[in-house]
């Protein structure tokens, strides 16, 4: 069995980002947390089934160095093969990335393709779905546990409100992960650095197709929230809070 997990880079919000009308300029990038969970789930599946795990990192020529830590982490955890897919230009259009990826993945014969459910720079949760559409594979998102049995994958999916449901999909399939079954495995510094040194990363350049569809009109910074500090003793604070909530029609 062969599994791949997709690892995207997103702006590191620890640093301030510049937002211009038609582009977002981060100071640096970091691995998308949900994708790190997809990688973790792939490693868990490897532990369960002995599957071969390949991790496909996506970057562009300006931020590809920021991908090394995430790929090193995957190698330290037990990924068998690493790809660094460098896109020929940065894009926030998931359709274009998904199409290019779908073409790249088409001859790799993966039984299971895992992605994170969403990324903070789009929040739309659509890479997995669009990828499955282009590859003509079944898709399920919102997944918190993946198992494989008799050519099918059995997944646990969050339904909201604390409810979980179990689904069965035929393999091959695309699955988007909310969180792995266990917290992300910690990798000590030395182990990470050794893995980064030893890691055999195949670098691939992909040209992106131009796809009409959803267009970004402009980016804007949300307005600063108004913060009011309510001071006084407990009674006073409670009265003022009730007043404020009534004004907002919450009470």
């Amino acid at each position: 069995m062969k599994i791949c997990a997709i690892l995207r880079l997103v702006p590191d919000l620890v640093e301030e980002i510049e937002v211009e009308e038609n582009e977002i300029i981060p100071f640096r990038y970091m691995p998308n947390e949900r994708d790190e969970h997809a990688v973790e789930e792939a490693i868990i599946l490897k532990e369960k089934t002995g599957a071969e795990v390949e991790v496909i990192g996506i970057a562009d020529s300006e931020n590809e160095a920021d991908l090394d830590e995430g790929l090193g982490m995957a190698a330290a955890k037990g990924a068998d093969k690493l790809y660094k897919v460098v896109l020929d230009r940065p894009t926030y259009k998931r359709c274009e990335i998904a199409k290019a990826l779908a073409d790249f993945l088409s001859d790799k014969n993966y039984d299971l393709i895992l992605t994170g459910i969403q990324a903070i720079d789009s929040y739309a949760g659509n890479l997995g779905g669009i990828l499955a559409r282009y590859m003509d594979l079944p898709y399920i998102g919102g997944v918190v546990e993946v198992n494989v049995s008799n050519g099918n994958t059995i997944v646990k999916k969050e339904l909201g409100g604390g409810l979980l449901a179990e689904y069965k999909l035929p393999l091959p399939a695309v699955v988007s992960v909310v969180s792995a079954e266990r917290p992300l495995k910690f990798v000590p510094f030395t182990k990470l650095r050794q893995a980064m040194k030893k890691a055999n990363i195949e670098e691939v350049e992909l040209e992106l197709p131009e796809i009409e569809g959803v267009e970004v009109l402009k980016y804007e910074v949300p307005p600063e929230p108004e913060i009011t500090l309510i001071e006084g003793d407990v009674e006073e604070v409670a009265d003022k809070l009730i007043e404020a909530l009534k004004e907002l029609s919450i009470l």
């Binding site: 620890v14 640093e15 917290p183 495995k185 910690f186 000590p188 510094f189 030395t190 182990k191 650095r193």
Partner: protein
Amino acid sequence: MDVEEMLETYFERINEIPNSDKFIQCIQCGTCGGSCPYGMGTLFTPRRMILAVRAGIVDEVLQSGAQWLCTSCFTCSLRCPSQIPITDAVIPALRELSLLEGNPPEELAAALMNITRYGNSFRESPRKRDRWIKEVDFEVPLISKKKKAEYLFITECFGAYHRRCKEITKAFAKLMDLLGTDYAILGNEERCIGDLVRLCGEFGLFEDLAEKNIRVFEKYEFSKIVTHDAHAYNALLREYPRFGFKKEVVHHTQFLYNNLEKLKEMFGKLDYTVTYHDSCYVGRRNGIYEEPRAVIKAIPGVKFVEMKRIKENALCCGGGGGGVWLDSFIKDHIKERPAESRVKEAASVGADVLVTACTLDVPMFEDALKVTGLEGQLEVKDISEIILEAIENS
């Protein structure tokens, strides 16, 4: 890792740490467990940890989580009749196994990852480390501009980023400003000094931090380091020399004591009953007991009272050795955290103010005041804050 591999890794690490050959001299007397603030809440006291390693059941120690129930307070190490380096070797090497297994408590894992990525545990931008200097009404010199200074002031992560601890940094910088001290800070070139990282068993990260910090130190001309962070003081004094760092390191209590005559001329009166908490890495680990007491007692109007557990017997705040990142883990194992017991002790001797000399103490004790209902009755101040208050009261 199987047990054999664990033991091999464990002894490989232990053997790198000074005096760890004493490990074999453990006489199983149990002084360590009896001295441990968490002794009642753990399945494996240091004595039983050593026994478990000898019996080849190190995996059982790791499964119990006992390796994380240690605040690195150094009481066991100081009292051990065989002088086994429990705090510096026995426990961190067990913690390293836990890190290699990939499953330390989550809060701690996040803190270590943040230090790896950003050079601080707060997940803050390294480019904002010097932001506190914009919050003061005097100029704090950067060594990159000044090039040369007598003292290099290390703020460490808590002193640079933590909302409460920054106030201590500002107070101490203000004192140096008032004293006309020739000092400077590294600003954004500073990164975590790493003592807690070392005590947590992340030896690789500690070495990396030490090497990078020393490379930055070497760029500038200064004669001494001064810091109000007890763990930074300890690491710079005791660990950094292994990596080639040879400068004098001064804790801010020593600095204040050395400037006491000048400070006395500036003091006004304070009407407080004060007690002093001996922070583990100022007192027990590094023997600084009298200097802070002399400084506090010199403030006119201050009534100084001692707690029951003082000097080498002082109770830890619970923040050291990564304890500050293990709060919920520790709360799962013990009923009363050490900081809660300590603030109750301070209140019981009639103190209005609990003075400390380690940046970690202040948030640990202030949280404990909230939990114990002592907020409003007892205040927690760093020694530099009470000194500055005495000066501003003149």
